[in-house]
């Protein structure tokens, strides 16, 4: 229905999430590459003002092409190529990523050819991230990690993964199993894990990557790489030696799926939140042992929905599905409360239970959140809840930006 579609695109008071172009920049920020936003103006300022907490403290080669109307009309891609080559010669980045905006998307700019030209002239790997500014950060950052993985590993074969794999046995999709992963007994060899999908857009608190890494190590896991905070590109190149990819936000799912399909590395999704943490750790071990991917919080949420009588729970967690799904699962396990996940970001496939309601646009968000007595979400969503609702604030940088720093 056209009318419903129009409604889903109208926002009279609620903000939109960080966009896909900013998501690309956030994902690749710390890896020593150069990111070019092929855009006339504005994206760069929006990114560093509202979508990035590291800009004043940590240098990163993130630039705007300054596309003009005349260059777009005449197809003057040479300017983008020349300017990128010039900056690359000055800075010698580890790689070059080009994200695009609405006009280059509309006119069908051939970014693959542009990247090939840039690679030819600089010798630096260059790739395109297929954004067009019409999506949220989960898609942009997700595609950035996916394209980065392809850049690093597309010439590798599944036989090479895991590179230092000691255990025998592979799953049907080729993943190396770790029979000593600790399922049912204490592991004597740690399961090697990549953390996928970590950006300050979802993990804003200072020290969050180290906290997660330490938590996993304390549970007997070996963290191979963190995509991509507090880690180096050199380290990310070892990612195929991992037995499991732990997807900590939906921005990691595209890369995780690709690594599963290409190299047989299974993934599990979730963050170690409260009472859900043990479930997640078991899931990681199970993945390593059986080579099958799983999303454990989705199972808990689905079971909870099945067992209760009401169509919806008394409470919900609204926002990015991996984080909020994990928190919702923790509440179900800890408090026994009926609880739903309401995903508000767009990358959800395979990350949410079937039949999950995914509201689009302000009217639907208000209608859905208005049905709950208890809502946990970013403070800017309080506006969408009904009077008397018990609202628990959980600031999410990708929504409220600097408002609650």
């Amino acid at each position: 229905m056209a009318e419903d579609r129009w409604k889903s695109q109208a926002w009279w008071k609620l903000p939109v999430y960080t966009g896909d172009v900013s998501g690309v920049c956030s994902a690749l920020y710390e890896l020593g590459g150069m990111v070019i936003m092929h855009d006339p103006s504005g994206c760069n300022s929006t990114f560093n003002t509202h979508d990035e907490i590291r800009w004043t403290q940590r240098e990163s080669l993130i630039f705007l092409s300054g596309l003009t109307q005349m260059d777009a009309i005449t197809g003057n891609d040479a300017k983008l190529i020349d300017d990128t080559v010039s900056a690359a010669q000055a800075y010698a980045p580890a790689f070059i990523a080009i994200a695009n905006s609405p006009v280059p998307w509309l006119i069908g700019t051939d970014f693959h050819a542009i990247c090939a030209k840039i690679m030819e002239r600089t010798g630096i790997p260059a790739f395109h991230v297929e954004t067009n500014a019409m999506h949220d950060y989960t898609r942009g950052a997700g595609l950035a990690f996916f394209n980065l993985a392809r850049m690093l590993f597309s010439k590798r074969t599944s036989e090479e993964a895991p590179a230092n794999g000691k255990p025998a046995g592979r799953t049907s999709c080729g993943a190396a199993r770790n029979p000593d992963s600790g399922i049912g007994k204490k592991a004597y060899r740690p399961v090697r894990v990549n953390i996928l999908g970590m950006t300050p857009l979802d993990f804003t608190r200072k020290g969050e990557p180290d906290r997660l890494r330490k938590r996993l190590e304390a549970e007997g896991f070996e963290v191979v790489s963190v995509w991509a905070m507090n880690d180096r590109l050199e380290n990310l190149k070892n990612a195929l030696s991992a037995e499991v990819n732990l997807v900590v936000s939906s921005t990691g799912i595209y890369a995780a799926r690709w690594m599963e399909e290409r190299f047989g590395i299974p993934y599990t999704a979730g963050i170690p939140a409260g009472g859900f943490a043990d479930v997640l750790f078991r899931s990681v071990r199970q993945c390593a042992a059986q080579g099958e991917s799983c999303v454990p919080y989705a199972g808990i949420l689905a079971q909870n929905a099945l067992e209760r009588k009401a169509a919806c729970g008394a409470g919900c967690f609204a926002g990015e599905p991996v984080m909020m799904g994990s928190l919702a699962a923790a509440r179900i396990l800890e408090e026994g409360e009926n609880c739903d996940l309401i995903p508000l970001t767009e990358t959800v496939r395979g990350l949410i239970p079937e039949d999950t309601v995914c509201p689009k646009g302000e009217e639907q968000i208000r209608r859905v959140l208005g049905g709950y007595d208890r809502v946990t979400a970013d403070p800017m969503l309080r506006e969408a809840c009904r009077d008397g609702c018990r609202f628990e604030e959980l600031p999410h940088f990708a929504l409220s930006g600097r408002m609650f720093l």
Partner: protein
């Protein structure tokens, strides 16, 4: 004897001595870097300066994010709405439908119907050849009680024509209709930072019997429309020059552009123009002489204060950065560099004066990619004498808290403007501000309800990862 024919840093394109610079484009167009100094106004601020207005942006998510969060940080979330565009709007449907239906959907949900709505069209509308007249005709038919103003966030056109900022300034005055002329009424329009009552421009007018109004004096939309009764419209800000001229021509009113010049000759000329166009008696020669003597005294005091200092000026602080450099240098103050990306026509004379009299003065780009290496502990000006910066970008690139936190001229005008400039630079040299906390905030003059990221501090955002 060999003579150097290149400047000292031959490979540097982002920092060049003025003797090597070309007018009006001293730097090549390349990739662009963006420094975290955001005190200047953007189109969100400009539209919201029209009382009771509501803004609706019809654009892609990523483009929308900046304006939505600008409004939220100002505490004006309820005055800005949006319609997000999807691929199918350009491929299967059309941008006219989503714009009309989306805007209507937004308006239907507003608790009160605003008297004026700015609808912002974007690059996609331009490239898809949208029928803009149809969009606005249809919106006006559906909501006859609302005045719709066509505005643009069409960044793709800004380097080859007026910027969205300039076009918005043009659009914001279109609802003003001619009213019965009050010969004593004078508007000062177009600038974002209002002039204080003690500013010479205002004081001279009021002394001459004029009733002065600025946009900030309008508390309601009706009062804003009341600006149509002025006999004279004045503008001091280059980006609004065409807008105020267009308003004056449409209403048939007198107009003058009184640029915020910083040389005595120019100020004299401006004051005579002001007197002529507003029909007030110009000050006597003695008054000019006294004012200039006071300025000379203030500049001499400043030169003594800044002995051992160097100064840096940026274009976001004032539309005459080269004029200010000239003023300071000609009064014995050492100016290390001027941050700008292009040179306005009205700065041409100052540019050539500086080329002749201060050939080693550095012009520094604010956006070339090479500038990414500065800031974050690395200053453009190295570890030499202490530096006082005039403007936020200068503060960032020079990494100094000794800075004047000013945008768009900050209401400096005339002789009094020069004296205030001296005072502000003196204060900046005496007291350092926490520029890392100040300059990332948007829109000086508006509330800033956000936090600013810092290192070495635990954020207040809860960690969801269990310890």
């Amino acid at each position: 004897m060999l003579e150097r024919i290149t400047h000292s840093e031959a490979d540097s394109i982002e920092r060049i001595p003025i003797r090597c610079a070309h007018f009006p484009q001293p730097f090549p167009r390349m990739l662009e870097y963006n420094a975290p100094a955001h005190g200047t106004w953007n189109i969100v601020h400009i539209a919201m300066a029209v009382p009771q207005s509501h803004s609706i942006y019809v654009c892609a998510d990523n483009c929308l994010r900046g304006v939505v969060m600008t409004a939220a940080e100002m505490g004006c979330q309820d005055r800005l709405s949006s319609v997000t565009l999807r691929e199918r709007d350009t491929q299967i449907d059309n941008l006219e439908s989503i714009t009309i239906e989306g805007v209507s959907e937004v308006i239907a949900h507003l608790p009160q119907k605003p008297p004026v709505v700015f609808v912002f069209l974007v690059c996609l509308h331009i490239f898809a050849g949208s029928d803009e007249d149809y969009i606005f005709r249809e919106l006006s038919r559906r909501w006859p009680e609302i005045r719709f103003v066509k505005a643009y966030m069409d960044c793709v056109r800004q380097k080859e024509g007026p910027s969205p900022d300039m076009k918005l300034r043009m659009a914001e005055y279109t609802p003003i209709e001619p009213l019965a002329v009050d010969e004593r009424r004078v508007n000062i329009l177009g600038g974002d930072i209002p002039f204080d009552p003690d500013c010479e421009l205002v004081a001279l007018l009021e002394r001459g019997g004029a009733k002065v109004k600025q946009q900030k004096d309008c508390r309601s939309y009706q009062e804003f429309l009341g600006l149509g009764d002025a006999a004279v419209n004045l503008c001091t800000y280059p980006n609004a020059k065409d807008a105020v001229l267009a308003l004056s021509e449409r209403l048939g009113r007198r107009y003058a552009y009184l640029s915020a010049g910083v040389s005595f000759d120019e100020i004299r000329a401006q004051i005579h123009t002001l007197s002529g166009v507003c029909g007030i008696e110009p000050p006597a020669q003695e008054w000019f002489a006294a004012q200039e003597a006071e300025c000379e005294e203030a500049l001499a005091r400043l030169a003594r204060t800044l002995n051992g200092w160097q100064a840096a000026v940026d274009y976001t602080a004032h539309s005459r950065p080269l004029g200010i450099a000239r003023l300071l240098i000609s009064h014995g103050i050492r100016v290390r560099c001027v941050f700008l990306d292009q040179i306005l026509e009205e700065e041409k004379e100052a540019f050539f004066w500086l080329r002749e009299h201060a050939p080693d003065l550095e012009l520094v780009s604010t956006i070339l990619p090479q500038m990414a290496r500065f800031g974050r502990g690395t200053a453009v000006c190295g570890e030499e004498d202490p530096i006082v910066a005039f403007g936020q970008k200068a503060a960032w690139y020079c990494q100094t808290g000794h800075f004047v936190n000013l945008i768009e001229g900050g209401g400096l005008w005339g002789y009094q403007g020069i004296r205030r400039l001296c005072r502000l630079l003196t204060e900046a040299s005496e007291k350092a501000l926490d520029y890392r906390q100040i300059i990332p905030r948007k829109g000086i003059g508006w509330p800033s309800l956000c936090g600013v990221p810092q290192t070495g501090r635990e954020g207040t955002v809860n960690s969801n990862v269990s310890e």
